[in-house]
């Protein structure tokens, strides 16, 4: 669960990225965060991920109060999140299996647990047969699936997808959205940040629209639901 209560963020440069933003994404929900460039979407992701602190307001992420969270507890909070990026951010010198397993190794998961979870995550994203391949041998859609498997493998309570289809063709984009929907149906909260109007419209999920650091619409339906 993510809860923003009257959150404002002003950077040292004086740029005011968020202005009194409040919203809640409940456990098990799937929501889209949409808005033009510079509207404050990336700031929201950075705030949720603990990369920066709000200037004012309160943020709760999966039971952690980020406003008062100690620096040493940030990694443990991050383990409740799985983050997917537009550019996949896979490690080129590791196989698909090792890319996914890496996310477990670095939080000190036992080998037995890794051996169970990695094949499960690869099966979930439909890449069981690609386990021993290198990332550069895969298509963009497949690479993004590996990134999703990596985000999932530690059983996060929430997946945050930052423009997950930005580098994909329309057909692959739909596949990725369906996959995220499937993950959501298995109980994981999903928040997708995207520009893709057609995709958002086709999903009929909750859409939070942000512009100039303020929430301008929050409702179920299409990308421009707030205009209706």
């Amino acid at each position: 669960m993510v809860r923003f209560l009257d959150v404002s963020k002003e950077y040292k440069s004086g740029t005011r990225a968020l202005n009194g933003v409040s919203f809640t994404i409940s456990d098990g929900e799937m929501a889209f965060l949409v808005g033009p460039s510079g509207s404050g979407k990336s700031t929201i992701i950075r705030l949720i991920n603990g990369e920066t602190k709000p200037t004012s307001g309160k943020i709760m992420v999966n039971g952690y109060n980020l406003t008062s969270l100690r620096r040493s507890d940030i990694p443990y909070m991050r383990r409740t999140l799985g983050v997917i990026f537009q550019d996949f951010r896979l490690l080129e010198k590791k196989t698909v299996y090792d890319n996914v397993a890496f996310a477990m190794r670095v939080i000190g998961a036992p080998r037995r647990h890794i051996a169970e979870r990695v094949p499960y995550a690869l099966e979930l994203v439909g890449l069981t047969d690609c386990a021993s391949r290198m990332p550069d041998e895969l298509s963009g859609g497949e690479q993004q699936r590996v990134a999703i498997a990596r985000a999932l493998v530690n059983s996060p309570r929430m997946i945050i997808a930052d423009e997950p289809t930005g580098n994909l063709d329309p057909a692959r984009s739909v596949d990725i959205m369906r996959l995220l929907e499937k993950i959501n149906s298995l109980g994981t909260t999903v928040m997708v940040v995207t520009h893709e109007k057609a995709l958002v419209d086709s999903m009929s999920k909750r859409v939070i629209a942000i512009d100039s650091g303020c929430i301008v619409s929050d409702g179920t339906g299409g990308y421009f639901g707030y205009e209706e």
Binding site: M77, R78, G82, V106, I107, R150, S155, P156
Partner: protein, 305 residues
């Protein structure tokens, strides 16, 4: 499909095997840079260690001389042997003189020639270049200064030479050396930390994407830091062990050369084993400290994000 989603792992298990293998991998991944860093730290340790060995020997010489209760009294060269010999009774009467042994200038020359590598070269040397002398043993070394004064006041005594006075000269040299050593060691330490830090920085730069992923999935700062600390540690230990081995070789060669030259007639060089453990521990401590500190310094930037 069954939902296998579970609560995420709260605390990571410590995994020394992973840290050590990653540390070694990092050393070999940047082999040339690691080699350069290890050689520079080795050079710093070698220089510092050599100064230490000189100082520890100077210390031993000073201490040895300070405890030496012998004095040589040289007789005026215009005195005949009989006149010189007659001074013995007067010297014996001086308070604190325990014994007094006479040696003629001829005997002194013979003794000196016998110590040379090729005594034949000095055959026929005129003994008149030297002085008759008395070897005096003092009863109480604490009264050295007043006894020397009394000896100098005896008519016919040309010069009095005491090991204690030589010790003072050595002590002054030792003190200068000590200051120079501290200064050089401090500079070398800073250089070593800088070099190790740069090597680890290169490793962190090459692995920046990996580090970013680690942070995103919730790796702790400790987990990210350890492999790099171990990389620095490995470089420090390699440098320390190599430096110790080289110091041993250098000392052995220097000891033999000095013994051949007869430079240390008054004393002998300390056996290497008498201070080897101090030197080994010092090398290791400095190597480890430089390695760890350099690494922590290098990785700090990435962990702040």
């Amino acid at each position: 499909m069954k939902n296998k989603n579970e609560a995420p792992v709260r605390k990571g298990h410590t995994n020394p095997g992973y840290f050590i293998s990653e540390g070694f991998r990092s050393v070999f991944r940047h082999g040339l840079m690691s080699f350069a860093a290890a050689v520079i730290v080795l050079a710093c340790l070698l220089i510092g260690g050599c100064f230490f060995m000189v100082i520890i020997n100077a210390n031993a010489i000073v201490t040895g001389l300070e405890q030496e209760n012998k004095v040589i009294v040289y007789v005026d060269e215009t005195y005949t042997e009989a006149e010189a010999r007659s001074l013995g009774s007067r010297l014996n009467q001086i308070e604190n003189v325990a014994s007094c042994t006479f040696m003629t200038r001829k005997e002194a020359l013979e003794q000196w020639i016998s110590r040379q590598e090729d005594p034949e070269l000095f055959a026929g040397t005129d003994a008149s270049a030297l002085r008759d002398r008395f070897y005096i043993v003092l009863g109480d070394i604490t009264q050295m200064d007043s006894t020397l004064q009394s000896l100098r006041e005896v008519e016919g005594v040309a010069r009095v030479s005491a090991y204690m006075e030589m010790a003072r000269g050595f002590a002054a040299v030792r003190n200068v050396l000590r200051v120079v050593t501290y200064g050089i060691s401090a500079v070398l330490l800073v250089i070593s930390v800088f070099i190790i830090s740069n090597t680890v920085k290169l490793a962190t730069f090459n692995r920046r994407e990996e580090i970013a992923v680690m942070k995103t999935v919730g790796a702790t700062n400790g987990f990210i830091r350890w492999p790099f600390v171990i990389q620095g540690l490995i470089l420090g230990i390699i440098s320390a062990v190599s430096a110790f081995a080289l110091q041993w070789v250098v000392y052995d060669l220097a000891e033999k050369a000095i013994a051949r030259s007869g430079l240390l007639e008054i004393t002998t060089a300390l056996p290497f084993m008498s201070f080897a453990y101090v030197l080994a521990l010092g090398d290791l401590a400095v190597g480890v400290a430089v390695g760890v500190f350099g690494s922590v310094l290098a990785i700090g930037k990435y962990l702040k994000k």
